[in-house]
Subunit: 255 residues, 2 copies
Amino acid sequence: MPDLAFFQELSAAARAVTLGAAVPVAENKAGEGAFDPVTHLDRAAEQALRAAIERRFPSDGIEGEEFGLTRADAKRRWSLDPIDGTRALICGLPSWTTLVALLDGSKALAGMIDAPVLDELALGLEGRSLLISSAGIRPLQVSSCSVLGEARLATTDPFLFDEQQAIAFDRVRRAAPVTRYGLDALAYARLAAGSLDLVIESGLKPHDYNALVPVVRGAGGVIGNWQGGADLSGGDVIAAATPALFEEALKLLRN
Amino acid sequence: MPDLAFFQELSAAARAVTLGAAVPVAENKAGEGAFDPVTHLDRAAEQALRAAIERRFPSDGIEGEEFGLTRADAKRRWSLDPIDGTRALICGLPSWTTLVALLDGSKALAGMIDAPVLDELALGLEGRSLLISSAGIRPLQVSSCSVLGEARLATTDPFLFDEQQAIAFDRVRRAAPVTRYGLDALAYARLAAGSLDLVIESGLKPHDYNALVPVVRGAGGVIGNWQGGADLSGGDVIAAATPALFEEALKLLRN
């Protein structure tokens, strides 16, 4: 089983590519009329992560956002999003992260949310979560917020929801005193650190959500789907500091 | 006239208070049903800035967000927003800034947007803009983006607009490939640095906008109101990398 030191090695390998580079120009992965940005840094970072994993764990499968699936029949599989928050990256903003998860079947054994510009590596491993930075290593612990009327809420883009979801999200937003946008996976690292209390999103892909689960749960938080279940494959995700807050948000979403 | 070194001194005085502090708990400045957060760090940072200014320029006026106006009859006046982006601060996010402007009547002679967590001091002084960090000093220069279809857009909160403004802003948002939220004054520093191209906001107060003007103009950008004029006192602000982009956004806002 990979240990903390190996995740630090993965972080260093990706940062060697991404950190300190000039703000990259985006190419559009989507067709005409849509925009799904990718940059040369997304691809180079995924190659660096793949090389580091293959050196140490050559029989593991690897599934990355940019280069697809390698060794599909392997029982253990790595899930990679080399740059989550490419929109932030191309705007010169510090909130983009590198996501790595280790899966056994569909179960996430470990997950890392690494924010290179902020020098913050959040790691969920063996049931607990840690924040690793140049200042040292400390445990991550969610807040005790259990009431939506006191919750700090985040979602990545209020215009990414479909019409019904937008109406549902709006009920939650109006009940929370503060809402933050545009954070992608960093929102879940902040939830784990106790400075956000609730994250609600839709449309997440496996490489977006796999790494979040061990980080949030290892810090004592709750993560599930908009129906209250644990299966995230539909891409709609709620993460909350406490079960009471999770349930209150769920009720408003379903109304 | 204060020089670069004095602004660095102001930055250091405020950072001594704000940087490295635990994520503060917000008090609500607004009445029931609204939320306008303030923290002990907002007040302590403004006091540190006031003390530094009064030591060096004892006859200047000072107007701060938290402690009001001192020496109202002074010709030269400092405008202070000790923490712009208190919502980001209370969520443990790195985008909050300290804003200082020096005014002669209503004209801004100099402005600083200081992002302590990011170690980025953007300074507009004597007609040019600089970025000062531990890595050194470099000039700030806006991008050459002149077409909305290629522009990186930012606004602080899409739900802060009134109904007519929201409809107008939505026209611009749909025409731009990328929109970022929640950045407050940092968006203008990124515009000056060339990694955002367009910022559109409403409801700004003088302590919010005074410091932005010298930073944006000194980097070659355009800043004005939603009618195309230079008077920002109505609080509606457009800042753009180029005059062509400014005009295109203006046309869509007015339709």
